[in-house]
């Protein structure tokens, strides 16, 4: 174990060693717990460590494996869980003051499935208050810090999860994504972040009020695409506890990995949607990434989504009334236990007419049909994940960044500008991954999204893995 370097370690690397009993899950877990104790005070990735449970789970894994009862690639693998996903007997705050002392008496289905696969849960990760934002500046639990530059945000709302993965404080993490909350921090922290198809993964056990119903997904943050594929196979699938979960069979997602992508067609959405606010450093990294896809033999072509500019309205019209449905009780009983900004947003949400909500759901279907039509000509669609690398905490507090000699506001009437590029894939429910596609001149990671038709996560993994291996950005780790 002494020779094992946790920096950049992946599940795919460690799994065969655990299986062959060359690495002890107990020792591995202890190493991660030590590293968390050392680095978490500066990074604030974890809100709580579940040390005793983790040691017990690791010891059990070790015992089972030594007896020849190996459960599979997640057996003995240390994970973290975002703090809006219910964990039995462990505080689940959703980054809020209101739920500061809530201890669920049940596990979310995804947690149950991870435990069944033999995973070890190290703790709960920090997040934006109620998952209603994407900078993870949390007034109650402190700000999670970007491990590439601790003066910068990690993104969010699954900020702590991305920090934990990027800083090698776990091997993977589960997060939630209703507006980009997995992909956004993955992009800013240089990890892989997957939002599967809506319904692919059960959202039973997600804290009500942290994502709504029609655009909310549970997702995965990992070091590599292959790790992500391994995890998805274990957490996907119908769940009777979640009526919106899909009854589609769960394939072996690692199977498409390594299949050549030559000849596949890549769509770029025409028009200004993904140019709005786009900084030069992200534009250059994205262009280079497209060049790499071409080198791999993929063909790039422009596609049209006629109603793409309505996406911010669709997102707001869907999530805000849904949030209000969940928050009504607390708005009536504990309004001042929300941060002021969130309270004002929720109150304004009470004034959205029902006709707006229903019309938005009808326009969403139209938008999905437009994406369906585009996917008749291309296998995947790619786009930058964010318009900028990680802003500083100071940028977020003052509300804008300065780039290319311009001021870009981080919020406007359409909502949170940091989620502009990710929300098209929330309102359409399409499986979408963010992979690192380069670094800014100051050494900050930049992300690219790859999206495919519903339930085609395998295609997403195939293309993302091919790019990841060719570009090799995954080899870089923050210096801590």
């Amino acid at each position: 174990m002494k020779a094992l370097d946790l920096d950049g370690l992946t599940i795919s690397e460690i799994t065969p060693l655990i299986r062959k009993k060359q690495i002890s899950p107990l020792e591995l877990t202890r190493r991660y717990l030590e590293r968390i104790k050392k680095l978490n005070p500066a990074l604030n990735a974890y809100l709580a460590m579940t040390e005793e449970d983790a040691i017990a789970a690791a010891r059990k894994a070790e015992r089972e494996i030594s007896k020849g009862n190996y459960r599979g690639p997640l057996h003995g693998i240390p994970f973290s869980i975002k703090d809006n996903i219910a964990t039995k007997g462990v505080k689940t705050t959703a980054g809020s003051k209101i739920l500061a002392d809530w201890v669920p008496d049940f596990d979310a289905t995804v947690v149950e499935r991870l435990k069944k696969a033999g995973a070890v849960i190290l703790g709960k990760t920090n997040m934006h208050e109620w998952a209603k934002g994407s900078n993870s500046i949390n007034p109650f639990y402190g700000t999670s810090r970007n491990p590439w530059d601790t003066t910068r945000i990690p993104g969010g709302s699954s900020g702590g999860s991305a920090v934990a993965v990027a800083a090698s404080l776990c091997l993977a993490s589960l997060g939630t994504d209703s507006a980009g909350s997995v992909r956004n921090p993955a992009s800013l922290c240089g990890t892989v972040g997957l939002k599967p198809t809506l319904g692919r993964v059960s959202v039973f056990g997600g804290v009500a009020g942290t994502g709504g119903y029609t655009v909310n997904h549970f997702g995965i943050l990992s070091k590599t695409v292959k790790d992500c594929a391994l995890i998805l196979r274990h957490i996907a699938g119908h769940d009777p506890k979640d009526p919106l979960s899909a009854d589609e069979p769960v394939p072996n997602y690692t199977k498409p990995i390594g299949i050549p992508v030559k000849g596949m067609r890549v769509g770029i959405i025409k028009g200004g949607y993904f140019n709005e606010g786009l900084t030069g450093e992200v534009a250059r990294a994205f262009e280079k990434a497209l060049g790499m896809l071409k080198t791999l033999g993929m063909k790039i072509q422009e596609i049209t989504i006629p109603h793409i500019d309505l996406v911010p309205a669709l997102q707001a019209a869907s999530t805000r009334p849904e949030a209000n449905s969940d928050h009504d009780h607390y708005l009536r009983t504990r309004p001042r236990d929300y941060s002021p900004g969130l309270l004002y947003n929720l109150i304004a949400g009470l004034l959205i007419p029902a006709s707006v909500y229903v019309t938005a759901q009808r326009v969403r279907r139209l938008l999905c049909q437009e994406f369906d039509a585009a996917f008749e000509n291309v296998q995947v669609i790619v786009a930058p994940t964010l318009f900028t690398p990680a802003p500083t905490i100071e940028d977020c507090n003052r509300g804008y960044i300065e780039a290319d000699g311009k001021r870009i506001n981080l919020a406007d009437r359409a909502g949170n500008f940091l989620t502009r590029y990710t929300i098209p894939f929330n309102v359409t429910g399409l499986p979408t991954i963010s992979v690192c596609c380069g670094f800014s001149p100051s050494g900050l990671p930049i992300g690219m999204q790859i999206s495919a038709p519903p339930f085609q996560e395998g295609t997403v993994f195939q293309v993302a893995h091919a790019y990841e291996r060719a570009a090799e950005w995954y080899r870089r780790n923050p210096q801590l």
């Binding site: 198809t197 809506l198 319904g199 029609t214 919106l244 899909a246 589609e248 000849g263 596949m264 067609r265 109603h307 500019d309 309505l310 911010p312 309205a313 669709l314 707001a316 019209a317 805000r320 708005l331 009536r332 309004p335 001042r336 002021p340 309270l343 004002y344 947003n345 109150i347 304004a348 949400g349 009470l350 004034l351 959205i352 707006v356 229903v358 019309t359 938005a360 759901q361 009808r362 326009v363 969403r364 279907r365 139209l366 999905c368 369906d372 996917f375 008749e376 000509n377 291309v378 296998q379 009437r413 359409a414 429910g429 038709p453 519903p454 339930f455 085609q456």
Partner: protein
């Protein structure tokens, strides 16, 4: 919109200051403007989206 916020303030007992009522009303007005274009879309015969289905038409590799 300010009157609507004031009514909510009473109903929910938020105890908002005048400045806070202004802020919330401004947000609600901006949201209303954001939603206006949704009503310009022809959604005749289109039912609300409630679940994502597996679609059948998917591009084949190399096929335009």
């Amino acid at each position: 919109m300010k009157d609507a916020v004031r009514r909510l303030n009473v109903e929910y007992r938020f105890n908002l200051s005048d400045q806070e009522i202004d802020l919330v009303a401004k947000q609600a007005e901006e949201a209303a403007l954001l939603f206006e274009p949704l009503f310009e879309v022809d959604v005749t015969g289109i039912t609300p989206l409630t679940k994502i289905d597996k679609r059948v038409k998917i591009a084949k590799k190399g096929k335009k």
